[in-house]
């Protein structure tokens, strides 16, 4: 309590009753938040400490001889670069397919009134609620029948479809906020719908497109279950799946290398998220769902 009083004294020489109450609330809120923050950061402590500890286990401890040996050990083509390249191919491919389909779909939905629009948008919203893990069993069955298993393009198209409903909603919302006047002028000059889309609408909403792209990319990058089921050969596996190579055949786990690999694999999405959160407010991922 002494620290409370000291803080109150610092805040004003003569704290009034209301001011003191406010300050106490503020300090209590800060303390509660700090406790929550520590609870949230604790599970990550192991990851960070083990990555610089060559003799790491599941214990969280200060490394006796901290070094970057674990990072050096995983920096090989087989362990890191190939899986990350696969992850990139998978995520970028998914995001490109997603964005192309979503932009094309969003344009008529945003620009022309039609009886088709509302039912379609609500059907798509309904599609966002399908549990993706539940459709993996039938998707596997479908892929077996069509001999699409272990196909990178088919996996990309499937992953793009799972995030497509959300991407269409977000893209349409962003497109709705581009004013019509410029387009009308272009239409008057005889430009077609798709030409105005490419020359006028898309450049004006490129920030929104970036948000959708990154949103889809992050989801695909972190996806474990889909490539785990649909891709078979090691050479095609993304980092999310190849990480299991650190679990040896006989239960021996390279903890330190696992932690170092996990960090290197996580850094790209942390950076991408920061980019988007800076640009458009941290609630970016919700804009599609919440605006409605």
């Amino acid at each position: 309590m002494t620290s409370l009083r000291r803080a109150a004294l610092l805040a004003g020489k003569r704290p009034t009753a209301v001011g003191r109450g406010r300050l106490r609330v503020r300090l209590a809120a800060n303390a509660a938040l700090a406790v929550i923050g520590v609870c949230f950061v604790l599970p990550l402590a192991w990851l960070l400490l083990a990555s610089v500890d060559p003799h790491a286990g599941y214990e969280t401890r200060w490394p006796l001889s901290p070094s970057f040996a674990n990072f050096a050990a995983v920096l090989t083509p087989g362990l890191l670069f190939q899986p990350l390249a696969n992850s990139f191919l998978l995520s970028a491919g998914t995001a490109v397919v997603n964005l192309a389909a979503a932009v094309l779909a969003a344009y008529p939905l945003s620009r022309y009134q039609s009886r088709f629009n509302k039912p379609f948008l609500y059907a798509i919203l309904f599609g966002t609620s399908l549990p993706v893990t539940a459709i993996m069993v039938p998707v596997y069955g479908l892929f077996v029948q069509l001999q699409l298993l272990d196909s990178m393009p088919a996996t990309i198209f499937f992953m793009a479809t799972t995030t497509l409903p959300m991407a269409i909603w977000m893209t349409k919302n962003f497109m709705d906020s581009v004013p019509l006047e410029l387009e009308e002028a272009a239409w008057m000059d005889g430009a077609s719908g798709l030409a105005t889309l490419r020359r006028i609408v898309l450049p004006l909403m490129r920030q929104g497109l970036g948000v959708v792209f990154i949103f889809v990319f992050i989801q695909a990058w972190g996806n474990f279950f889909v490539p785990f089921i649909l891709l078979l050969s090691n050479s095609k596996q993304p980092a999310a799946v190849s990480v299991f190579s650190f679990f040896g055949q006989h239960g021996a786990i390279a903890y330190g290398e696992l932690a170092a690999f996990s960090i290197l694999y996580s850094v790209p999405v942390l950076i991408l998220y920061t980019v988007v959160a800076r640009g458009s407010g941290s609630a970016f991922a919700l804009s599609g769902a919440m605006k409605g």
Partner: protein
């Protein structure tokens, strides 16, 4: 949203009604790629799931080449099977404890605390909470596994207070995965509620303060009713997300020990891929899809209702 009347009229002036309808239809052409993708990769698997759930389709053997129609056998098996009712119950526990109670209440709590605390603490804690959400799922699962394991951080902390820990993943698998999912998923609710609370008009709350309303009274009678739309939407979305959680549970406990943490997605995976029974696996998947559809229908109604 729409093309102004004058414009569409001028461009359509000298056309016959058929041409006009055709033209209007052609405008929807760009939607076709999305419809093809959704039809092929979403609708078809769902339809196939319902179909296969009435067969004895398998990964290998005779039934793999030539699945037979078995009627409602797979669904009847759910009722007699000892694992399915347990799994349905565990799924409910997982959703209610980790999403509806855990993520929702904690997310709202953090958002409320943030409105009352200093900017630096709020943004630092916000970053930490979001970090566990934005991490790849498999990394979060490893971190949670390490945290709850015998030598893990939790037991080390308990050791500081002289408490002898246990291997939480074996002793209390559900509690461990529930807490892990709260840790991983709370950021979403926090972001939803931060956005919602920032829309609450300041003067209403301050007027109530002047009238002598206490903190919890303002929360219960003013703030919560104002953001009830966001609460409903958030509950729907986190329920659907939590219903589909697989990786976290699969890495932490593998559904074990002896099915003590086998939720429906894990069970569907085990039956279909581990035991090769695609028929029974798709039946379980179909049940999950149906549950998702019910929640999805409610969600669509909510959004439609919110829009004038």
């Amino acid at each position: 949203m729409a093309v102004p009347d004058s414009l569409s009229r001028s461009s359509l002036r000298r056309r016959t009604p058929i041409q006009r309808t055709l033209r209007r239809r052609l405008r929807l052409l760009p939607v076709v790629p999305s419809i093809v993708l959704l039809g092929f990769f979403m609708l078809a698997p769902v339809a196939w799931s319902f179909y296969a759930s009435f067969t004895n389709a398998a990964l290998s053997g005779q039934a793999a080449l030539n699945p037979q129609w078995v009627g409602l056998d797979n669904y009847a098996r759910m009722l007699t099977d000892s694992v399915f009712p347990l799994s349905a119950w565990l799924t409910m526990v997982f959703v209610i404890a980790s999403a509806i109670l855990g993520q929702n209440a904690l997310g709202l709590g953090i958002a409320l605390l943030m409105t009352r605390s200093g900017g630096a603490t709020a943004s630092l804690v916000g970053t930490v909470v979001v970090a566990s959400w934005i991490l790849p799922e498999i990394v979060a699962a490893f971190a949670a596994y390490a945290y709850f394991s015998q030598d893990g951080t939790l037991n080390q902390l308990l050791g500081l207070f002289g408490v002898q820990g246990t291997n939480w993943l074996y002793a209390f698998p559900m509690a461990a995965v529930v807490l892990a999912n709260v840790w991983r998923g709370t950021a979403f609710s926090m972001l939803v509620y931060r956005a919602a609370l920032s829309q609450v008009p300041r003067d209403i709350s301050e007027a109530a303060l002047m009238d002598g309303a206490r903190g919890w009274q303002r929360l219960a009678f003013i703030t919560l009713p104002i953001i009830r739309g966001s609460i409903a939407t958030n509950l729907m979305l986190i329920t659907l997300q939590t219903l589909a959680v697989f990786t976290l549970i699969w890495v932490m406990t593998g559904g074990g020990p002896s099915n003590a943490s086998t939720t429906l997605p894990v069970l569907a995976y085990q039956e279909a891929f581990k035991l090769g029974d695609i028929g029974y696996g798709t039946a379980i998947a179909s049940v999950l899809i149906l549950i998702g559809m019910v929640f999805g229908a409610v969600y669509v109604r909510l959004i439609r209702g919110a829009k004038p």
